[in-house]
Structure formats: structure tokens, C-alpha cells
């Protein structure tokens, strides 16, 4: 065990003079790697054609748009489960391992994440070679998904400790990396498959092996670079404000205690509604622009539009969370819900039957998607404000179940509404607007939940701090201001 002792928390405590600006790149190396998950769809087509190409050839040509004609090949619907499993296990592992992460520190957690995430690729490569889909489910979906969950929360939690003066900006940086991971993952995957492909091989197996190795090395950079501040450390020239802002506590709440507070569940609803509404527009962005601007927007333009949305999704994570440092988390979510509801309502009216303005439609959806990303990035700082820093990583992990729920709820809701309307003979363009109006309703629910957030009752404070009732009463009075 001595060999791995460098992973221990005690070995990661920063010495005096250590620059905290080394920690964001360490965090980003993890998030940019695991963010590859959002680019997994680039493998779906090649995975769908493995047997067809290995038997009939044409591995160097462009794969047809239709499903593989070979019945032995994996179906698209079955392949879709790989990503669903990965996101599901992201949420589950973040909730389960959050407490463990608090105990062992970020280096060991990041190492575990790297091992799981890379192993996911290696096992999947084996699954491709044997043509066993369950191995890919197990590899990329389950084990890789666990790597995603641990890797998602540990850097965020560490940055909160290093940037008590700007927690929103710091966590936004890392979570922006998760959004940006697909930007690297997608072209990297395509280039590697192009390099390895031959007449009878699409190069998926080799690509998985190389990507597993590349991501492991990249994540090791984070493992070796990350540090935790020593007890009581504060940024030079900064002191906690004597009069903390409303909703910002100087106390701590333990994760199990936090999970029974109304604040936790209100934030759960806030995140769930924000993500569900975001998925509602992301799911249908491409067909929507084509349908709303029939004859004016080509499929190529729609693909460009989706790419542009990825940039806004990523940028929104940093910009909105940084803004939240200045205007407060609650106000930031107010903007998401109020401005969001207005924009969701306006978006369908920009089509040919209304204002007929593609630039306006694009601008509206870009702002909406930036707020979707911003919702993810602002929530860790919101948790830190309400529950303190002691176990904020574990609390964040549990809150991410809202993401898992929205990941299932969002697409199901969108598809159900559209199917229902189509069956009733509603025009396709009108089905999009109805979906968006339903999303407005969800945003109103989110707004109400955000409005109900109040400071945590002192009875939930970590016991060692809340021994004196009079101190607790005084604290509540301050926090409620």
C-alpha cells in the first residue's frame, strides 16, 4: 500500500507558497476527459455496422444513413442504452461515493475516476472484439459511469475550498470543462477511427484502446497536480465578510443531515426543472429549426446550429456561475426561470408563421442553452452557500440524482407530448411550440422552488458547532437577514 500512499489526503496538503491557480487546470484535466461522454454518439453508427463491414467490407467508405442491413449487428435502440447507463451511474456513484470522497480527498478520488473511466474504454474494446454488447454496457456504461460520477464531483469540491472568494467562478471553470469535453472527444474519436479503419474494420476497438490510454494519462496530470489547502488557509488579502450575505452560511451541515432539509429538496427541484427544460429544447433543436423555417434552414445549417449550441452550453457554465458570485445564486436562478420562461414562450413565435427571423430564433435558443449549462455550474456554489464547505462534495453528489431524473424525465416528456399531439393531427411545427409551453410550466415550478429557499435551520448545523442554543439563535438571526 506504500506505493499508493501518495494518493492519501495527507500527501496532497499544499505547502505555503503553492499557487491555487494550478488547481483549475488539474480539475479541468479530469472534466475535459470525462466530458467525452457527451460525444459518445459518434460511435453509434460505427458500432451499428461492425458485422456488416467485417463481412461485406466498405469500411473505408461513408456509412449509409440507414441502419445496418445485417441482423447480427447491434440495433440503434440497444446502443442508446450505453449513454443512458453511463449518465445513470454518474448520478448514482456521485450520490454513493460522495461521502467516501470527503474522507479520502481529491487525489485518490480522481485516481479512482481515471481508473474506472479508462477501464471502461478497455473493457468496451474487448466487447467490440468479441461483439458482446453487455461488455460495453458493463465497461463504458457501468464502470465508466462510476468514473464519471466520482470524477465530476471531486474537482468541483476541491475548487470550492481553494476559491472561497469566488466559488461560482471556480466551480464554473471545472463544469465548463465537462461541457467542453465533447468538443475534444468528438473530433478525436473521428480522427482515430479514420486512422485505424480499413476495408473490413471500422477501427472502433483500436480507438477505444487509444482513447482509454490518452484519457488515463491526461487525468493523471490532474491526479499529480491537485492539492488541498491546509486547515484555515485563506487567499492572500481576503477575509470572510464580517456580515455574510443572506443565504450564505459560515456553518456546516453534514451530508445526511442536509438530505433531510427542505433546502436540499428545493434545490433538487430547481436543478431538475432547469435541466428538464433545457433537455426539452436540446432534444428538438435540430428538427425544430428545420420545421419552423421550412425551406430556409437546411440540414447542414441545423447541424451547425447544434454545434453552436454546444459552445453556448459550455460558455454559459462559466459566465453564469461567475455572475452568481456578484448577484447571488438565488437571483441567478431567478433569471434562468423568468428570462427562460419568456424566451421559451417567444422561440416558436420567431418561425415563418410569426416573426420569421432565423437570427432571432438562434439568439433565443443560444441564451436558453447557456442558462441550461449555467444551472449545472451554479448549483455547487449554491450548496456551499447553504450548507457550508465541510461535506459540500457529498451533498453535491446526492443532488446530482436530480440530473439523472431529468435525464430520463426530460426526453420522455418531450417525446410523449409530441407523439400525443401528432396522433391528434396537430401540425409538426405546432408540436414544438406546445412542448416549449409545457417547459414554461416547469420553469414556473423551478421559480417557486427557488423563491422558497431560506437559510438552513441551525438545528441542522454540524453538531460540534451547534452546541450552544444561544449561539444557534444568534446565527439564525444573522443568516436570515
Amino acid at each position: 500500500m506504500g506505493l499508493l500512499s501518495f494518493l492519501d489526503r495527507s500527501h496532497t496538503v499544499a505547502k505555503p507558497g503553492f499557487s491555487r491557480w494550478l488547481v483549475p487546470p488539474a480539475a479541468l484535466s479530469i472534466h475535459l476527459a470525462i466530458g467525452q461522454a457527451y460525444a459518445f454518439s459518434v460511435f453509434k453508427k460505427p458500432l451499428n455496422y461492425l458485422i456488416q463491414v467485417s463481412t461485406a467490407g466498405r469500411g473505408t467508405g461513408v456509412l449509409p444513413a440507414v441502419d445496418s442491413p445485417n441482423p447480427a449487428d447491434w440495433k440503434f435502440t440497444d446502443l442508446g442504452w450505453i449513454f443512458i447507463l453511463a449518465i445513470f451511474f454518474l448520478g448514482v456513484s456521485a450520490a454513493i461515493f460522495g461521502k467516501w470522497l470527503e474522507r479520502v480527498g481529491p487525489r485518490k478520488a480522481m485516481f479512482a475516476s481515471a481508473v474506472c473511466f479508462s477501464s471502461g474504454f478497455f473493457i468496451s474494446a474487448f466487447g467490440v472484439q468479441l461483439h458482446q454488447l453487455w461488455l460495453i454496457y458493463l465497461g463504458y456504461g457501468v464502470i465508466g459511469g462510476i468514473g464519471l460520477g466520482i470524477g465530476y464531483i471531486s474537482p468541483v469540491r476541491t475548487l470550492i475550498n481553494w476559491f472561497p472568494d469566488r466559488p461560482g467562478m471556480a466551480t464554473g471553470m471545472a463544469i465548463m470543462g465537462f461541457g467542453g469535453g465533447a468538443l475534444i472527444g468528438a473530433p478525436l474519436s473521428r480522427n482515430l477511427m479514420d486512422y485505424f479503419r480499413s476495408e473490413h474494420n471500422l477501427g472502433v476497438e483500436q480507438t477505444f484502446l487509444v482513447m482509454g490510454a490518452i484519457y488515463f494519462v491526461a487525468m493523471m496530470f490532474g491526479v499529480f497536480t491537485v492539492r488541498v489547502p491546509e486547515e484555515g488557509w485563506q487567499p492572500e488579502g481576503w477575509a470572510p465578510p464580517a456580515q455574510p450575505k443572506a443565504l450564505v452560511t459560515v456553518h456546516n451541515v453534514e451530508v445526511n443531515e442536509a438530505s433531510v432539509t427542505p433546502q436540499f429538496w428545493l434545490l433538487w427541484i430547481v436543478l431538475c426543472m432547469n435541466v428538464t427544460a433545457g433537455i426539452g429544447i436540446l432534444e428538438q433543436a435540430s428538427p425544430m429549426i428545420i420545421e419552423l423555417f421550412k425551406g430556409r434552414a437546411s440540414p447542414a445549417a441545423a447541424a451547425g446550429f447544434v454545434a453552436l449550441l454546444s459552445l453556448f452550453n459550455m460558455g454559459g457554465r462559466f459566465i453564469w456561475s461567475t455572475v452568481s458570485d456578484y448577484i447571488g445564486r438565488k437571483n441567478t436562478y431567478y433569471i434562468f426561470f423568468v428570462l427562460g420562461a419568456l424566451l421559451y414562450y417567444l422561440a416558436p413565435r420567431t418561425g415563418v408563421s410569426g416573426m420569421n427571423s432565423i437570427p432571432l430564433f438562434v439568439a433565443i435558443v443560444c441564451v436558453i442553452v447557456s442558462m441550461y449549462g449555467g444551472g449545472f455550474a451554479t448549483v455547487p456554489a449554491y450548496l456551499r452557500d447553504l450548507f457550508g464547505t465541510m461535506e459540500v462534495g457529498a451533498i453535491h453528489g446526492r443532488l446530482l440524482t436530480a440530473w439523472s431524473a431529468a435525464g430520463i424525465f426530460g426526453p420522455v416528456l418531450v417525446n410523449y407530448i409530441r407523439e400525443y399531439l401528432k396522433n391528434r393531427g396537430v401540425a409538426l411545427a405546432d408540436t414544438y411550440s406546445t412542448v416549449l409551453y409545457v417547459m414554461v410550466g416547469l420553469l414556473v415550478v423551478g421559480f417557486i422552488a427557488d423563491a422558497l429557499v431560506r437559510p438552513v435551520n441551525p438545528k441542522h448545523w454540524y453538531q460540534a458547532e451547534a452546541t450552544k442554543p444561544e449561539a444557534a439563535a444568534a446565527g439564525l438571526a444573522t443568516a436570515a437577514q
Binding site: F18, S19, L22, L32, L183, R296, A301, A303, G304
Partner: protein, 52 residues
């Protein structure tokens, strides 16, 4: 008392380059795709009614 050894600025810069370069490459690739939104000509609106 020993002097505090500060992290060299160059090291911080290198760390940012390590993550920044692949990121910038990814953004460039994405922008190439995104620019199709602005490049593509509207199929029906710009097509002349008749070429003869």
C-alpha cells in the same frame, strides 16, 4: 525561518497550456461545424424560379 517557495509562474502557465491547447483545438473543430449555420444558402428562398 526558511523562505516560502512560491510556485513559478511558468509552471502555472504550462499547466494551463496542458488543458488549454486540446480545448482550443476542440473549439476550432466545433466552430468549423457551427459556421455551416451561417454559410449554408437557403435552398428555396434563393433559388431562382427558372434558369431558362
Amino acid at each position: 525561518m526558511g523562505q516560502v517557495k512560491k510556485t513559478p509562474v511558468l509552471l502555472v502557465l504550462l499547466a494551463w497550456l496542458f488543458v488549454g491547447l486540446p480545448w482550443a483545438w476542440g473549439i476550432t473543430q466545433l466552430w468549423k461545424n457551427a459556421s455551416k449555420l451561417f454559410q449554408s444558402s437557403p435552398p428555396a428562398a434563393t433559388a431562382p424560379a427558372s434558369t431558362k
